[in-house]
Amino acid sequence: MKFAILVNEGPYQHQASDSAYQFSVAALEAGHEISRVFFYHDGVNNGSRLTTPPQDDRHIQKRWSALAADKGVDLVLCVAACQRRGLVDEGEMKRNGKDASNIAEGFRISGLGQLIEAGIESDRLITFGD
């Protein structure tokens, strides 16, 4: 079965991103496909490469990036949510005249259409939020 995942909260403050990750791992282990993980609202904060969590804690961003690298999962950050919260890739950096980017490997920034499309083309959309 083809799952799409929606993540509405950033890392560490709420369990939402953790739950979405654990669900994704379990779905992949069961032989299902994760067609896309869409990060919306504060969820886009999962995609920053500038985090340095304590060494005895999980590294939420790196876990997601590894899922993209190892399993080819498509990690999409909502562009409008990124602009409001300061998540920036090279393209956004130039477009908006910023002096730095902070997006992590495996994530890409795109529009809300990617969420709608994921809802249409997957068998199930599962939302994790607050």
Partner: protein
């Protein structure tokens, strides 16, 4: 981005479940944004307002003093985007002392006991 067109050929029933008051959180605004962007996908869209979500449709919103966008007028424009199914739960209105007259747009009332069936008639649930 607003112009992207969907050519996948699938049409699904998508319901937006709105349960929060506007302005205290961004969800009401974002739900509306998603509906507007989603209009380009030619899907069968329903918006459902439950619980504090009914406040999103309240007339006379004036968030300008807080420098917030006043997006409540946009609900009236949904028709132009072929989003015509707006359901409001009547018990949610009554519990909050509101009536249909208090809302910015014409809606269809739905009874609490029928909400489950309305949701179960959908393919995708997006909750805000």
């Amino acid at each position: 981005m607003e112009d992207e067109e969907y050519t996948g050929g699938i049409e699904k029933k998508i319901i937006y479940v709105n349960r929060r008051a506007p302005h205290g959180t961004v969800y009401a605004l974002e739900s509306l944004e998603t509906v507007l962007i989603g209009a380009a996908f030619d899907q069968d869209v329903t918006m459902l307002f439950l619980d504090d979500g009914v406040f999103q449709l309240k007339k006379d919103q004036a968030p300008e003093a807080l420098e917030f966008k006043n997006f409540s007028k946009t609900y009236r424009a949904l028709e132009m985007y072929d989003v015509e199914k707006l359901f409001v739960e009547q018990e949610s209105l009554a519990e909050r002392g509101l009536a249909q007259d208090d809302l910015v747009v014409d809606v269809e009332l739905v009874a609490r006991k029928d909400v489950g069936a309305l949701i179960n008639d959908q393919d995708v649930v997006l909750s805000f």
